[in-house]
Symmetry: C3
Subunit: 515 residues, 3 copies
């Protein structure tokens, strides 16, 4: 009857022993190590103690039932145990799901892009002359690199209800296919920050606010995935607050971001012939993002002290301030035409703000620089097994790096997918870009105008087909790209290099992963 | 009677609340972050909902039993709860075991190798003149570096039964004993790939096949651990398929791997005196591995367009193609003599295939280069507490880097271990290498022939002694090594450097870890 | 009645199938991969099997109760199941708590430090002339970098009771605020080691001992957190043993650490005008730490063969040996005055031992060098919501890098915190440093003496306020610092650079995290 016969004293002894053991902590590690070990040991000791107590409880109830006359006396015992197990299970579930403790996220792509000559072909969505200014073309069948991000998170929940998350991201990119790139490594730490939320002392407009500091990609950046281009990419080191509720339908964020402008040449105004080298400054960006229903209004002001001393060419003065604004609509349908989603954004900036994507990241802009950019994309199903995702990215910019220069370009891209079975779909991408770039001699670049087009067929394997956002994928692809010969003379793009002069076939295999 | 009587409203309300909460997602993160957070929140929400339902269930059953007249009515309730707990426990077990979600693997070694002069001694299994061509000697008591791999995996299981695994490996190696090697870092990303298996739409010969793409070490590489030498080390960037069942007893793999040949000097045939610098090409390797029972037959063809323009010395033409083949036997016994295992492999290659281990990784080979290599090893117990592991690695190569050159070498190695108690064993290693190398002046190397021998005693601590493959280990060691003086003149090995001229005693401490 | 009706055969079949499946392992991966996969698959298979058996058990018991005449017969069944669940839950709890398997620890700080000119200001606790010799000042509001450590641990528990832990630490530091520092990366591996404990064959004085080997920070290093300065920072590559019980009240550690002295210039005694470049040696440190109750006595001897050939200036001979000793008291109260803690340490070293913090890390010391250092700190509450932490660090050093030089300095620092509510506290730090440095021309440095002071106010957010050791924190801060003008002429510190000449206001935001 009494299957489980060990006694309470045993259980207590085990619990006490494990607590005593955990008290014999070693003396003098670093502060961080000591705390970490202490926490781990306390958790372990508590668990051992709880476990021992529970076993004792069970054992006693076993005795209890043997003496109790009514079987129903065993029912409450079972119920208690279940609630207890529920609590413990819920805790380990929180930990294995990443809701508490460590979790791991990834973005990665890796593969081969081979030209007709059997060698790696130039690639990447920014390979055209417009690419230097942010004019991306479609990425499918156009990427030759191995780029991976490993994101390590650690989430904490406090007894007062507060939550904290620490995030760090390691990232590396290379065009080498070799497994060991050792000395050429650029594996670096792109993000290191902490974010607090659910703070009990934050009330009123701040009730749902979260605060952060460190080095990070801004939470509210968003991209056109098929062009591998963020619409806004605000990143750097600083601090801020998200989700301040300014009114019923108005949520606002405020942050300051710093970026480093390093080792740029300066103008020696006394001795124009003796321009110096290697000054540094900080680009400080004050940003506010505001949400009104589906609408987003972002306003950025930026300042880089003494950046006007930067030598960007005779006659031009570099900007030391700037502003930048975005009006965006985040749609819940495919442009109101059917299920799906769309986003549309209009960006405008001046001075340091004329770099519209990488906010505050370019110190070579003139103080007269202006840019305006349009970004639109959407996704929907056009038939039961056919998905479509069109997108547009277009910009016009004046006095960017030189007085009187002009950079105008527009990209149209369509990604199409035909779901064949659970694990296979055919993907197609057509990309067209028009550009008219007049650098006015900046950095020895030549005036060009013309068109670039690319068409890709990519048989694609997936563990579970369906939707544009599911990864991982493994793709084979064949791409044909062509462009106006005149674009080959720009002097600062992959076009025109080494026989890569137009009418190109490329072939490849690639994986893309995120989770 | 009505066992499951809980009031739905409570459970639904809690579940709904937590789902609603998860709906209040923030607006515009990067795509990857949004998906990751969404998934985590959905999982958390589901768990909260489930948990709430279960608590409701338990609470009501508590009420139910109090009114129920027969105690047996409580039994089904417990049974349901148990099945439920079973399912949830099994899920967290899958996650903590790494079967699903994140898991962490490591290979690492770190320690000191000090010579009689109290300074770091040259070391590593490739320290002899034959080492440059792959002629490893025993590694025990012969390693001076800190080399570590951190392998981060993430496994996904899909509702349709498909599985996916993402693997990335960070690795770094240094001979510095300092904790901070900052600017000399070579920490880099050696692997980034995805592999899919159990795809429901893969049937017939492909039923058990898995596909992969990215940067990786080939799955079927294998090594002679005691020489720190792979028998075949195929690695690079590409894609392929494993485990295609071509016949009952024939399983086959097919892959394409790319490797980068970078910045090599080229021959200017027009102006022989004006040889250029820095051409690049890709080494593309088509590989097929075939398994017939214990037999493995691997065939590799490789091509590197225009590599024949590489300048490898007057009169020689670099290979731009090659082939490579391996026949191996994977034994389930110690050469049929007793319990244990053994492997034997014969490798042959020509042109670019004449680099027999690092398949397709060497672009300096001539178009006439040929190599043949034998690799054999086995492990067994020769007495209850005595383990032995003998191995042979031998190669003959002609016209490798220069017309008429020859590289012949053979290594014999024996690792012996005497298990003393649960945590301690004595390890011994004797290594002998014969070499006869005639570089024909290649890279200013001199013709040498002679012998190298090494004997090591290593008192070794282990958490749980037993078997050759158990790690971690912590070892102390003393090594005596000696060699023919003539080997000191080769000019491209550690032998002969800085007083390291023969009859050397070295001492050290080291850990080796894998899991 | 019989709610759970599935049968044993089904369960056995499922278990068998999953074991069979796990047997179909692929052929020839690397050794490490094979073992890792094997373990994961075995664990998974065992779990599936166990799970299937349990389901079968439950099902049969369900049948059992329907035929059993007494309802109490179901009670033991439930109890068994509970013990079983207890065991499995305890296992996953060990794994999610990091007691077994993977765990993740972090130290990180990241933020902005901006001067009155709107640019990054010099910072760091070692910014004064005394800083080069270890004279730290307070860190609050004085740090401009992003420094992060990611510590990946893996703990193993063996059936014989033995435990092993593998630890690796990746770390990187930069003054750049940019998210991508790619080519300037210094992300490197600072620790790679294994440590074994609870070894069953270790008895007597060794019963509680643990052994380690690899590259690491010594376990018993300890710091003054507010100065960002270890009192002792012993780190390098080697091996040792902790916690040998030499007597009832005497616990002892013994280790050997190696550090690399690389590429230093050597004196050519034959041709004094032709000093050579780039010799290397190892600094070998024998260390013993001894604990007697609250007292710690550390003794270090060090040797670097041929380091006396190092060229450190005409007339000086570099040390090739040294010794170093520490006597410390680890107090359980605030200097006996109240609750809290304090530590006091007196350090003395000669020759290579005259670098008192980074034991054995400086090869430029003369053979006559002597140093003595005092380090004291404590923490306590002085009122219910007010915490205080005073500290002193002071050193006197002679003949350090040149005959007749002298380096004397002392730092006083006080950190004060006023806890306002659950998530907010005001932190204050006042720091004062006196220095009198006479380098005797070493490295073109000038004799200086004078004072430095710094005062910082830092409004600080925390998820859960209370205690000096709780992190993460997000801080805003304003700092005023001033110093004697004479310090600007030292020539090897941030003071005096680029307008940073005294009376400085700096502003910033920062996060600090550890767990």
């Amino acid at each position: 009857m009494n299957n489980v016969t060990f006694k309470t004293p045993l259980a207590i002894a085990v619990a006490a022993a494990s607590l005593a053991l955990s008290g014999a902590a070693s003396a003098n590690m670093t502060m961080e190590e000591r705390f970490a070990e202490l926490e781990a040991r306390i958790i372990a000791a508590e668990q051992r103690a709880e476990s021992a107590e529970r076993r004792a409880e069970l054992a006693e109830q076993g005795q209890g039932t043997s003496t109790a006359s009514t079987p129903s006396s065993s029912v409450p015992a079972t119920a208690i145990s279940d609630a207890d197990i529920e609590e413990r299970l819920a805790r380990v579930e929180r930990q294995t799901s990443g809701e508490e403790g460590f979790s791991f996220n990834v973005y990665a792509r890796s593969g081969l892009l081979i030209g007709e000559d059997g060698k790696s072909a130039p690639g990447g969505p920014f390979l055209t002359p417009a690419g230097g200014g942010g004019g991306a073309v479609g990425r499918l069948g156009n990427e030759s690199d191995t780029y991976s991000e490993a994101i390590l998170n650690y989430r904490m929940q406090f007894d007062n209800g507060a939550k904290a998350r620490y995030t760090t991201m390691l990232a590396a990119g290379t065009n080498s296919s070799n497994d060991w790139v050792g000395d050429d490594t650029n594996l670096n730490v792109r993000q290191v920050y902490a974010e607090f939320s659910d703070l009990p002392s934050f009330t009123g407009a701040f009730e749902n606010a979260s605060i952060w500091a460190g080095k990070r990609f801004d939470r509210d950046n968003f991209d056109i995935h098929w062009l591998d281009s963020d619409v806004v990419f605000l990143a750097g080191t600083g601090g801020g607050i998200y989700d301040v509720q300014l009114a019923d339908n108005w949520k606002s964020n405020f942050s300051i971001y710093g970026r480093s402008f390093s080792d740029y040449p300066v103008v020696d105004r006394e001795n124009p012939g003796l321009d110096g080298d290697g000054s540094d400054t900080d680009s400080l960006i004050l940003t506010s993002n505001n949400y009104f229903g589906n609408w987003q209004v972002m306003v950025n002001g930026m300042s880089a002290a003494d950046n006007d001393e930067r030598d960007i060419g005779v006659g031009q003065t570099a900007a030391d301030t700037g502003w930048h604004t975005v009006v965006a609509y985040h749609g819940d349908s495919f442009f109101g035409l059917g299920e799906g989603n769309f986003k549309a954004a209009l960006l405008h900036g001046q001075g340091l703000g004329a770099e519209l994507k990488g906010v505050g990241s370019n110190g070579d802009l003139t103080d007269e620089a202006t840019s305006t950019r349009l970004a639109v994309y959407g996704t929907t199903y056009i038939a039961p097994k056919w998905r479509i995702a069109p997108s547009i990215l277009a910009e016009t910019s004046r006095d960017r790096f030189a007085d009187g220069d002009s950079y105008d370009w527009a990209t149209l891209n369509v990604r199409l997918a035909n779901e064949i079975n659970q694990n296979f779909e055919m993907q197609y991408e057509a990309s067209y870009q028009w550009m008219d770039l007049d650098p006015q001699g900046y950095s020895d670049r030549n005036k060009v105008d013309g068109d670039y087009m690319k068409f890709t067929i990519a048989p694609t394997f997936k563990p579970d087909v369906g939707g544009f956002w599911k990864r991982p994928e493994i793709r084979l692809f064949t791409t044909y790209s062509d462009w106006d010969e005149s674009l080959n003379s720009y002097g600062a793009s992959s076009l025109g290099n080494d026989g890569f002069t137009g009418g190109q076939w490329t072939f490849g295999v690639q994986t893309e992963v995120w989770f």
